[in-house]
């Protein structure tokens, strides 16, 4: 069994660093376009919330906090805020490794959700990265397509 024990400090550091990277860099050269990219469109978030409510909420719960010992939280974790390709891959292909987040382990399998459209996936991933206190860049349809084309990681 594979166990990944990421130090809480590392998780926190990455979680804090990530959302700041894009906008912070953009601050030196003010670009309205970059600012807009940092804040996903309300319509996209609304679409993402709809998908989340229908397909994700049962396990990850309304507040994104997950379920003790079973379903991991989606809050302040590199799985959500980090590498978008990995995140999209988890949604497309499922995920069956035991996850350790902040010292707690989570056992339930994440089933593949390849029945969702690329647009639905991009919307829900963007929603998750910008809800429950999370703030991170949007996931594009192109990024979802790439994850779908890639094999299970």
């Amino acid at each position: 069994m594979i166990r990944r024990f990421l130090p809480a400090s590392l998780l926190l550091a990455v979680a804090l660093a990530l959302p700041g990277t894009g906008p912070a860099g953009a601050q030196t050269k003010p670009k309205p376009k970059a600012a807009a990219a940092g804040a996903p469109a309300p319509a996209l978030l609304a679409q993402g919330k709809k998908v989340y409510t229908q397909y994700c909420l049962t396990c990850h719960q309304a507040d994104g906090g997950g379920v003790q010992n079973m379903n991991p939280p989606l809050i302040k974790t590199t799985y959500v805020l980090g590498d978008k390709a990995r995140l999209a891959n988890i949604l497309v292909h499922g995920f069956s490794e035991q996850v350790a987040i902040n010292g707690e382990t989570y056992n339930n399998i994440m089933p593949a959700h390849d029945f969702l459209t690329d647009a639905q996936m991009a919307a829900v991933l963007t929603y998750v990265r910008n809800s429950f206190g999370n703030k991170a860049s949007a996931v594009s349809v192109a990024e979802v397509k790439a994850a779908r084309a890639a094999g299970k990681k």
Partner: protein, 427 residues
């Protein structure tokens, strides 16, 4: 999970011990409820106190005739202690006195001079001295080894009968034996292969050494996962609480809407006999129809019932509430109606979302002549801390283990914050 020691083999010792404790220690022997009953809501005449704060995921518990506790932890502490030892303290409370057993798990049961404890693949036993202290904590006997452990339902709850047998739950490492676990629309595997080594209760010799599947007996099959179980002394039979399947709506949305899925299937109590089959993954129990329904993974549509072949539950409770402990009450502290009835610790739901969550309480199920008799009732409530915290699933405390104290008080462990509660009746 509970000390059978005090009920049988050592009953006279237990009585003598508690009398001695009370007479010698005076006020220390008096058990006073905490102000506000430690936040619990109880029937009139009952009170509650916090015995100890372990700060760990406290799963099943044993209370010794001397009033000490053993607490099994889901995972060992930083010091490598998977079983905590608590000694009795003033006012009916207890203090941490050490620990041993560098493995996580749930099962804990004391009987015939031994403390039995399980990891997620093995069962160990520790010799107890006349004070019910573990003699050699570093060198337990390995009674059972090599049990199947999957990614879910990995804990191994245990109970003993009166003739030297050990019963071990081996949970199904699957929700409903789909080709792809929990995946929308995925159908069930033919002759569910999980059942050869899991999804049931296995029987072993309580004094055996390094037993595994070849030395054990598949006592009952078709049980998805059992965390709470106890031996009923009145009809000499094993009773178990099954955790029913999840996600009917998520997997088959055309057949089950969210409300229906939140209410199906029942969490069931079964009275087991050797060779019984409770029907997982092929059926689930509908508490409204009072029928065993064909699972959608195996051709069901929410309407097709199944008769015969599989045993019926002896009692049914609301869906998804996760019964994590079962205890037949044999004490005399509580009023007569509780004697030989069952207490059930409901850990609380998650799979009712988006409907409000339920559970986070201890239920009393009246029994008569060794069978459930009459409607169950919520006995100890508000472990969650408020109605809102229960509805959201963000409960302060989640009941997980039950044990009966030598004076007949009821101990409840919480595996969220690690609080140990004690419920007493004020005569």
């Amino acid at each position: 999970m509970k000390s059978s020691l005090l009920r049988y083999a050592l009953l006279p010792t237990a009585l003598a011990g508690s009398f001695a404790l009370y007479s010698l220690t005076g006020d220390a022997g008096r058990v006073a409820p905490d102000p506000g009953n430690a936040g619990l809501k109880l029937p009139a005449g009952f009170g509650a106190l916090v015995v100890a704060e372990t700060g760990a995921h406290a799963r099943h518990i044993v209370v010794t005739p001397e009033g000490g506790l053993y607490v099994k932890l889901a995972k060992p502490t930083a010091k490598g202690e998977g079983i905590l030892v608590l000694k009795p303290a003033a006012g009916g409370k207890a203090t941490l006195a050490g620990g041993f057993g560098n493995y996580g798990g749930t099962g804990l049961f004391a009987k015939n001079g031994y403390l039995y404890a399980s990891s997620n693949q093995e069962v160990f036993r520790y010799k107890l001295n006349e004070k019910n202290e573990v003699v050699n904590p570093a060198q337990p006997e390995t009674v059972v080894t090599g049990l199947k452990m999957g990614r879910e339902h990995e804990t191994k709850s245990i109970a003993l009968d009166n003739v030297g047998n050990l019963y071990v739950n081996i949970g199904a490492y699957s929700n409903s034996c789909q080709a792809k676990d929990r995946e929308k629309g995925s159908m069930g595997l033919a002759n569910c292969p999980v059942l050869d080594s899991a999804g049931g209760i296995w029987q072993f010799k309580a004094d055996g050494q390094r037993q595994s599947y070849p030395q054990g007996t598949r006592y009952t099959t078709g049980l998805r996962n059992v965390v709470g179980l106890d031996w009923n002394q009145q009809d000499n039979q094993l009773f178990v609480m099954q955790h029913g399947r999840d996600q009917l709506h998520d997997i088959f949305p055309a057949m089950y809407d969210e409300k229906t899925s939140a209410a199906l299937p029942a969490e069931c109590m079964y009275a087991l006999k050797k060779g019984d089959n409770a029907g997982w993954p092929y059926i689930y129990y509908d508490p409204t129809k009072h029928e065993k329904m064909l699972a959608p993974e195996y051709g069901g549509d929410g309407q097709k019932a199944v008769n015969g072949q599989y045993i019926d539950p002896v009692a049914a409770y609301p869906a998804h509430m996760a019964p994590n402990a079962l205890l037949f009450y044999t004490g005399t502290m509580f009023p007569a109606k509780y004697r030989n009835g069952a207490f059930i610790a409901f850990h609380g739901s998650w799979n009712r979302a988006p409907e409000p969550q339920k559970g986070y309480f201890v239920v009393f199920q009246p029994f008569k002549d060794g069978k459930p008799d009459g409607q169950w009732e919520v006995f100890a409530d508000n472990f969650a801390g408020s109605a809102e915290k229960a509805a959201s699933g963000r409960a302060d405390h989640r009941p997980c283990g039950l044990a009966q104290g030598p004076d007949g008080s009821l101990y409840v462990s919480d595996d969220n914050k690690g609080t140990i509660f004690r419920i007493v009746y004020n005569k």
